[in-house]
């Protein structure tokens, strides 16, 4: 209570940390308070300096579309309930940073990103559909063979996301277990790099129609290829698993929406966007740094200032999405920033849509009596990443 009073007295001069009292489908009420106060709110970063968090939709889009922001340096926002780390090194400070698309700007970024675009187009995503259906069907069979209650995340979402990534990147079958162990489980950057070098060495002799083959055919430098491969093996792998679990949690918490989707499967086309709106994984995207003094709307940003856009907050902005806390698969949720936005928007989003859709639809159609036993997502949990992302967590379900 005293905190609220303090905020009311001094809305723009108290530096805040990212609140951790929300869940993926029910964000912290603090974001609504911040949105009311203004488009941007002072935010503390883990190295102690002050930047801004953007909570309103319109300004969020403006920042993400503005080329006067740089992706570097990667200074992470501070979270409530967590000790301040002196500095979180996202990058390894190695030459592999040359291919880390999340840390590049302008022409350099475009040159790297363009080598892989073709494998992530809408047309390519449609081309993966039959493979994704097969991957999901196989995993569904595995899930249904487990004794109940069973964890959807461990037995369904995670294996589907790993297999989907392997398919699109073109990671050969013999690396399946190792890829899961290193990229679904915990491992060091050194272990990941050692792994991807072995994968690329094998791929070199068997080029095919996939992302890694395209990279090896391209004119990128070796460290650029390796850096981009590292980014692609990591990025989205956890997010697809997170989204399948989050969609299922949202549906099992809202039986009327689950029934509507079963009754009319065509709802999934627009419904996918609603899933991405209410289930956005990133409380903040990777921070941007202003390269010059600038004014966006009514917000003045100084050169060198860190700015973190919050998809979770922006996707719940009632100025853009009426009745924002209502999960409604029939609403027009296009325009959400659940995949980010701007030149760093998720490159794999069209493929992710196919994977998530298959994961959700096959599961709800195969098991009519599917019901929730316990979802970690229904309680606030720890963040998964220094930029602050939600975790998939355990999703225990059962059936008759």
């Amino acid at each position: 209570m005293s905190e609220v009073t303090k905020q009311e007295q001094c809305p723009m001069h108290e530096v805040r940390r990212i609140p951790n009292d929300g869940t993926p489908t029910c964000p912290s009420p603090t974001f609504a308070i911040w949105r009311e106060e203004g488009s941007a709110t002072p935010l503390e970063y883990s190295d102690g300096h002050e930047g801004l968090i953007i909570n309103r939709y319109e300004l969020a889009k403006m920042v993400l579309e503005d080329k006067r922001f740089s992706q570097t340096p990667a200074r992470m926002p501070a979270h409530h309930g967590e000790a301040l780390e002196a500095q979180y090194g996202l990058s390894s400070d190695s030459e592999l940073d040359l291919g880390n698309v999340l840390g590049l700007d302008g022409e350099q970024h475009a040159r790297i990103r363009r080598t892989i675009l073709n494998r992530y187009s809408v047309r390519s995503a449609r081309g993966y559909e039959s493979d994704m259906k097969e991957i999901v069907a196989k995993q569904l069979k595995h899930l249904m063979a487990q004794p109940t209650p069973v964890d959807v995340t461990e037995h369904y979402s995670q294996p589907i996301s790993a297999a989907g990534h392997m398919r699109v990147l073109g990671i050969p079958e013999q690396f399946r277990q190792e890829y899961s162990r290193l990229f679904v489980g915990d491992s060091t950057t050194e272990e990941k790099v050692e792994f991807l070098r072995r994968v690329l060495a094998v791929k070199k002799d068997e080029l095919a129609e996939d992302v890694l083959s395209d990279l090896l055919r391209s004119d990128l430098l070796v460290p650029e290829i390796e850096g981009l491969t590292l980014s692609l093996m990591v990025s989205g792998r956890d997010s697809v698993a997170y989204m399948i679990t989050t969609c299922m949690t949202a549906l099992l918490n809202n039986p009327e929406q689950l029934k509507a989707l079963r009754d009319d499967p065509t709802l999934i086309a627009g419904g996918m966007e609603e899933f991405m709106r209410v289930g956005a994984m990133f409380l903040t995207l990777f921070p941007r740094t202003a390269t010059e003094d600038l004014t966006l709307g009514d917000v003045h940003i100084k050169a060198g200032q860190s700015v973190s856009v919050s998809p979770v907050a922006a996707n719940h902005d009632e100025r853009q999405f009426p009745d924002p806390d209502k999960f409604d698969l029939s609403r027009d949720a296009f325009g959400h920033i659940g995949f980010g936005h701007g030149i760093h928007g998720c490159v794999g989003q069209q493929v992710a849509r196919v994977e998530i859709r298959e994961g959700v639809m096959q599961l709800i159609n195969a098991i009519p009596s599917l019901h929730l036993v316990h979802a970690e997502q229904n309680e606030p949990g720890p963040f998964a990443h220094p930029v602050a992302t939600y975790e998939a967590g355990e999703l225990m379900v059962s059936w008759n």
């Binding site: 993400l64 579309e65 475009a110 990103r113 363009r114 892989i116 675009l117 073709n118 494998r119 992530y120 187009s121 809408v122 047309r123 390519s124 995503a125 296009f334 325009g335 980010g340 936005h341 701007g342 030149i343 928007g345 998720c346 490159v347 989003q349 069209q350 849509r353």
Partner: protein, 63 residues
């Protein structure tokens, strides 16, 4: 309505091809190509939606 696309700005997110596939496609480089630059009246709303969603502001509409 007349549509123009900026392939230099395009980042291949595919939002246009997703929501307005009869107007926009992506070529073998994953970049935007126009299937028509003058959509018929019933498709104008989809062109507008694509322009709004484009993360790289690569779609310009002349009304």
């Amino acid at each position: 309505m007349k549509i123009r696309v900026d392939r230099e700005a395009c980042i291949g997110a595919g939002q246009c091809a997703l929501v307005a596939g009869s107007i926009f496609d992506q070529d073998d480089d994953g970049l935007v190509v126009l299937l028509t630059d003058t959509p018929s009246d019933e498709y104008v709303a989809f062109a507008r939606k694509a322009a709004t969603l484009c993360p790289a502001k690569a779609i310009a509409l002349e009304e």
